[in-house]
């Protein structure tokens, strides 16, 4: 399958990339790892006239400084999967990375590309919602920073303007005892999630400080289960509290029945995965 014809640009700097995007407007599209964009172009669901390939720009850092992790938009899933910094301090990311698509796709796919694609079945969106991350967006007008919850607008829709590029993801470092995990139900390696759930828990003097819960593939975008999160803030981390959070998260989901399962089944998986994820997060928080 061939995409429709396009002109190919390979800018050597971000400034040049912004200029190209400004020039071509809605007809321009940024190419990073290409693992979502190229399939969509081959199916002719997207037919951009101009491709701006930013993949050779130096934007792939994974740096922790102070209480913030900075991940360059072009960091590949494989780099995140292998990063010692992430393994040491960001368990939700560390458990999600090896579950994204398959190992060959992870060699090319990038975190920024995945977030900008804004597929409701995308994994990084939920991970970042659970961690309270934000994104840095560059344009000819300078930089702006947005919470991930405001960046992900709807299915395949983000807050990016046509001449803007996501350059960096910023993840706050959790302090004290914390834990987290990403649980994903998939029919086979490389399939889209049937359901996936990101959970993060920080403890403060034995009670829950912050809980982060976000859901994949059960709505029009990655869903932050805010009611479930609020029910846990300040609470004792008990089985009952986790059960209530599971119930609230399932209520916040709006899955569609398809070949991967019925609506009821998927909602039930949300409930189970939230409870199970929180229990695992608690276990590792207490072990830390």
């Amino acid at each position: 399958m061939l995409p429709s014809s396009f002109e190919y640009h390979r800018p050597e700097s971000l400034e040049e990339a912004y200029q190209l995007l400004a020039q071509y407007g809605d007809d321009g599209k940024v190419l990073a790892g290409g693992q979502s964009l190229i399939p969509v172009m081959k199916l002719r669901l997207a037919t951009p006239g101009h491709i701006v390939d930013i993949s050779r720009l130096s934007l792939d850092q994974i740096d922790e400084s102070g209480d913030m992790l900075s991940v360059g938009a072009l960091a590949r899933h494989r780099d995140l999967e292998r990063s010692d910094v992430i393994k040491a301090g960001y368990p939700v990311m560390a458990t999600a990375a090896p579950l994204i698509s398959d190992p060959v796709v992870r060699n090319l796919g990038t975190i920024g590309g995945s977030l900008c694609h804004a597929d409701p079945a995308g994994d990084w969106g939920s991970v970042m919602l659970a961690l309270g991350a934000s994104v840095v967006i560059g344009s000819p007008r300078g930089e702006r920073e947005l919470p991930i919850s405001e960046f992900l607008v709807d299915t395949f829709t983000t807050a990016l303007e046509p001449d803007e590029i996501l350059t960096q993801v910023k993840v706050p470092k959790a302090s004290g005892s914390f834990g987290g995990t990403y649980l994903k139900l998939e029919r086979k390696v490389g399939d889209f999630a049937s359901v996936a759930v990101a959970t993060h828990l920080s403890l403060s003097n034995g009670t829950i400080g912050r809980a982060g819960i976000a859901l994949t593939a059960v709505g029009s975008k990655n869903i932050q289960a805010t009611d479930a999160e609020a029910s846990l803030a300040g609470a004792e981390p008990t089985e009952d509290a986790f059960a209530e959070a599971g119930r609230l998260a399932a209520e916040a989901s709006s899955p569609v029945g398809d070949v991967r399962g019925s609506e009821d089944y998927k909602r039930h998986v949300v409930d189970v995965y939230v409870r199970r994820g929180l229990a695992r997060a608690l276990e590792s928080a207490r072990a830390a």
């Binding site: 399958m1 061939l2 995409p3 429709s4 014809s5 396009f6 002109e7 190919y8 390979r10 190419l31 290409g34 693992q35 190229i38 399939p39 172009m41 081959k42 491709i51 390939d53 993949s55 494989r78 698509s101 398959d102 190992p103 060959v104 796709v105 060699n107 090319l108 390696v189 490389g190």
Partner: protein, 165 residues
């Protein structure tokens, strides 16, 4: 657009449309038909080649993205007319039936073995989990990759021993 790609160690130049996929560039422009086109939807991994040493699905890369970079295909495994140890191992361990997934499986196998010369079943299965064998002959693919790892370590040890003596 004119591009130059280092294919199996030699620079190749082609004038291509930007929408041409790397798989088609390799097969049709460079005439290397060992790279197989399977699903054409990023699922099966039959078209796997190495781009700058890492396995990628060449149906999901534009040829122009390989400009100035290195591509290794199954044809590049042959060294001086001799089969690469992984090719020998696939032959001896019956690591192929129809042969369609084999080029990609062998390339991914070499990358795994370079990092981990003695992988467990589980580690091999994870490494090839982006690639489908339509004959479902996974057991012998796993065995072949492990046998190649063993053969390559022994060769290295022999070489080290002969240098030492």
């Amino acid at each position: 657009m004119e591009i130059t790609v280092k294919v199996n160690g030699a620079d190749r130049t082609a004038d291509v449309e930007p929408r041409l996929l790397l798989a088609h560039l390799i097969r049709e422009e460079f005439g290397l038909t060992g790279t197989h086109m399977g699903c054409d939807t990023t699922s099966c991994g039959a078209c796997t080649v190495l781009l700058d040493g890492r396995p990628v699905k060449s149906c999901t890369v534009f040829g122009v993205q390989a400009d100035g970079r290195e591509v290794t295909t199954v044809e590049g495994l042959l060294e001086g007319g001799q089969l690469h140890p992984i090719q020998t191992a696939f032959k001896e361990e019956h690591g192929l039936q129809c042969g369609f997934c084999t080029p990609g499986m062998m390339l991914t196998g070499t990358v795994l073995l370079a990092e981990n010369p003695n992988p467990t079943d589980e580690e091999v299965r994870w490494a090839i989990s982006g690639q489908i064998c339509r004959c479902t002959g996974y057991m012998n693919i796993v065995k072949a990759i492990q046998a190649a790892g063993k053969a390559m370590s022994e060769t290295t040890e022999d070489a080290a021993a002969s240098v030492a003596s």
